[in-house]
Symmetry: C2
Subunit: 173 residues, 2 copies
């Protein structure tokens, strides 16, 4: 698909930034706002027949949601290092991390690419790292079978968490 960028203008810079792109696709000129967000990690933390999920107040929906641990990849971190840090900060475990899947959360207008890891051999961390100041997280152990049910019952309302749980639960061996 022949795409030519005509202009790209930053309209806001912050933890989440916004730019306005003008580009031509198949000769048609299109203008579009693009949310610029750092790549991120999500972790499916597996403890026997259970997952360790978190509940967290989310300002955007103004709700407390049940989600997998996740967060931005900070400057200089590899995805694996970010996943280990988020596990420490959000659930207080170390584990063996295996890359599983990668996905865009909202590719229609947002650059965020999330690297999903599966964490096993979980070990509780004695001295927890300080959490990001906007986090208000409670870790919850949920049986995998119960987590799958919550994907259908509406108890889980986060697309990445549903994708992660169902991808793991229905993975062809």
């Amino acid at each position: 698909m022949p795409v030519k960028v005509i202009s790209s203008r930053r309209v806001y810079s912050g933890a989440v930034s916004l730019r306005k792109d003008r580009f031509s696709i198949n000769g048609r000129v299109v203008e579009k706002e693009i949310v610029e967000h750092l790549p991120s990690v999500g972790i499916l933390a597996v403890a026997g027949d259970s997952l360790i999920l978190i509940t967290q107040y989310r300002r955007a929906p103004d709700k407390t949601l049940l989600e997998i641990p996740a967060g931005k990849i900070e400057d200089g971190e590899t995805p694996r290092q970010a996943a280990a840090r988020e596990m420490d900060e959000e659930i207080g475990y170390t584990g063996t991390l295996k890359p599983f899947l990668k996905w865009y959360l909202a590719p229609g207008y947002d650059t965020e690419l999330m690297h999903l890891f599966v964490a096993t051999d979980l070990k509780k961390i004695a001295s927890r790292r300080k959490m990001d100041d906007d986090e208000n997280i409670v870790a919850k152990k949920v049986k995998l079978s119960a987590a799958v049910k919550k994907c259908y019952s509406g108890e889980i309302e986060d697309a990445k968490t549903i994708a992660a749980i169902l991808a793991y639960a229905s993975k062809p061996l």
Copy 2:
């Protein structure tokens, strides 16, 4: 969780808007950028043992992605009306629409709530509606079993599409 909004300031208005919220949670004051995006619909279009997916150039990742048909709920539309319109615009079918799941795409910073429908009894539309000017969409019929494989192979890189396909394929009866 006691949350008090201190201030909320629009910093950009457009098809995607951005605001900066200052709020206190458990007494701690937090500042956060929030992306404001209209609620949306996604459609799992089922034709026998196949799904009708679309490929579309996405500016944010600068890639052509394989996704379910989806789009914003326009002013005055119900989710069902939006789903019918998007099916017309993006794949050129009508169908029987059943609400399936609802999810936030990026609840950490984005207000978008997507209503997922399952569409069956598909009928091709003779005279297609004009598409949004930024769309460059090719409909593709993919066997459900092949679509599930693509969720694991990396051929599908969109979280909502992976969540939708796996939720449908592994739905407990």
